[in-house]
Subunit: 349 residues, 2 copies
Amino acid sequence: MTRHPELPERDRRILGVLVQAYIEQGEPVSSLWLASRGFGVSSATLRNVMARLEEQGYVRQPHTSAGRVPTDQGYRLYVDQLLAERRSSARPTPQIEARLRRAGTVGDMLSHVSQEVARASHQVGFAIAPAAEMTTLERLDFVPLDGGKLLVIVVAAGGHVSHKVVNPSEEYGPGELQQAANYLNQEFKGRSLLAVRRAVLERLQEERTLYDVLMARALRLASTTFEDIDVTPTVFIQGTSLMLDDVGGEDPELTLSTLRTLLKMIEEKTRLVKLLDDYISTEGITIVIGSEHHAPDLQHFSLVASTYSDGHNTGAVGVIGPTRMRYSRAINAVESLSKAITRMVKTNT
Amino acid sequence: MTRHPELPERDRRILGVLVQAYIEQGEPVSSLWLASRGFGVSSATLRNVMARLEEQGYVRQPHTSAGRVPTDQGYRLYVDQLLAERRSSARPTPQIEARLRRAGTVGDMLSHVSQEVARASHQVGFAIAPAAEMTTLERLDFVPLDGGKLLVIVVAAGGHVSHKVVNPSEEYGPGELQQAANYLNQEFKGRSLLAVRRAVLERLQEERTLYDVLMARALRLASTTFEDIDVTPTVFIQGTSLMLDDVGGEDPELTLSTLRTLLKMIEEKTRLVKLLDDYISTEGITIVIGSEHHAPDLQHFSLVASTYSDGHNTGAVGVIGPTRMRYSRAINAVESLSKAITRMVKTNT
DNA sequence: CTTAGCACTCCCACGGGTAGAGTGCTAATA
DNA sequence: TATTAGCACTCTACCCGTGGGAGTGCTAAG
């Protein structure tokens, strides 16, 4: 966890204070200011330390006669330190959980989660539902619509519901639809949607299927249903208006155009999902800072996220904000919400 | 439609050109510039006209020695003129409609619609689904979950699906759930959700209900289901990143903080819905410009919206942007998309 | 009613000059 | 060897005055 073993203890502490101060005040931190923070050394000494830190890439100067500002590497050390110290300070979640419990559906709950994590962290917050393809089938239903179309309702474990309209090539009577649903439910309940899809296709190939016309028709219906079962998980995002609070402010890095790219990414949520798929393989909190991102348009933003699991599938909660973000607050928010979700889905399932 | 009858024809034409120019260029329009636009009069005359227009409140000067800028009242006359001229220039929608047709569910389609209207108008676009309470019940389903909870799936006419988890006070066996669903479907299919809710409550009061225990239990279940059937329609919004394009620009009215309030409203979509409920009683295109809004935080924004209908219920499509918006483009976008939806839901139902 | 001419007003971009903050360096000190 | 006081240096941000220029309103003539 703790990289940077070469850095002397005192330098590290000073860097910590510096980063913290910059995060809070948004202005380059001067040696004089640091001296007033009770290190027991003079500003001159701190200047020496800062020069060293700069050489090593932890801080930089906006211009010659200005204080120091953390680099992404500096932030990195800071959050590593933060994470190392925290250990078990994992706050529970008092009344927020009650609010979540009131949500009717998983979707509702996650929508609230994204809102809460945004509020708590003062950043853009998001919550991602587990990928539908991995959840297990609970029940399948067909509802006939006008014009030969069918509404298919798929209920997955845990109360996830998805639906779509299909336009089958054959005609089905109402009774037959009922039968088909019964047959498919009986046959495939409890399997993952992905597995169902595979099984349906396999069985359609088998010879003996040919003898049972009804079954064959049911299977064909199922295959149209599952052919593109949504691979993109649902994403909830809240707090975008909070972004603008930072922009006018002190941070000159945070221009309108960078913000725009972030907003854009938020709109096409699929990108966010891909992003997280890349990073979040590990359990627990994941933090990606500024230039640590692969994508160049995220250079000025940091991500704090955590996975959650309902036993079978994993989703994610997190926040996105400027690199100069209150990491401790963000980490707390993300962790507590992620724990809250885990508890919710466990009791819910 | 055309208010402002007192304004002479020529003045009106000049105002039109002025507004158009300001919308496109974003800079105060000078008498000299107008003179170059072939009115056959000199700049001095135009100065006289502009002075008159200013007296009447159609334009104003940012400062003494600057050109004129339209006021909200000026924009109003401009769009009224625009709408009056348009008449039947209603463009159809060529390949966009094809894209919409690919959408699986109504929700998907509206999501695309909001995207398309945003793209076409270069503004924030939105699409609102008809209020669920007014659609008619097609089918009701209960799916038992763990822990005594129930997943209720409500299918409304046109393929709208909503679902929620309820925690009934009584226990229900799987067979009974099936029975209850059958009973309720048979009894209430085809009525509006609001009517169903009323009918359920009424019937619960009736004496004879007491004799049929199963029926009573079914009705109690239904009443928990419908007690808070979602009154807030679904809203889809896209194009928020486009907002930021304008902000850095020429328009000094458009500050970050006003933008923030707009973003906030977009996030709590309910406000948008209320707003539209207020304005959109009428059929056809509705336009609200700047200070015509009741809410003070919308003073700098304009709304261009249109309702659509599937025969029973009405939803809305529209865009929101700065008062200095390309109204003609916005109107075209909104109208064509609204027509497209209408056609879609008609063929879909 | 239109128009040429003209004086007037106000914005804005430019430049210089200065105060102040903060640094790096050097030399002295523990 | 690490710390510190002192000092010169650098850069920014701000203030202020100033001139050019754009655009107007007004007046008087057509």
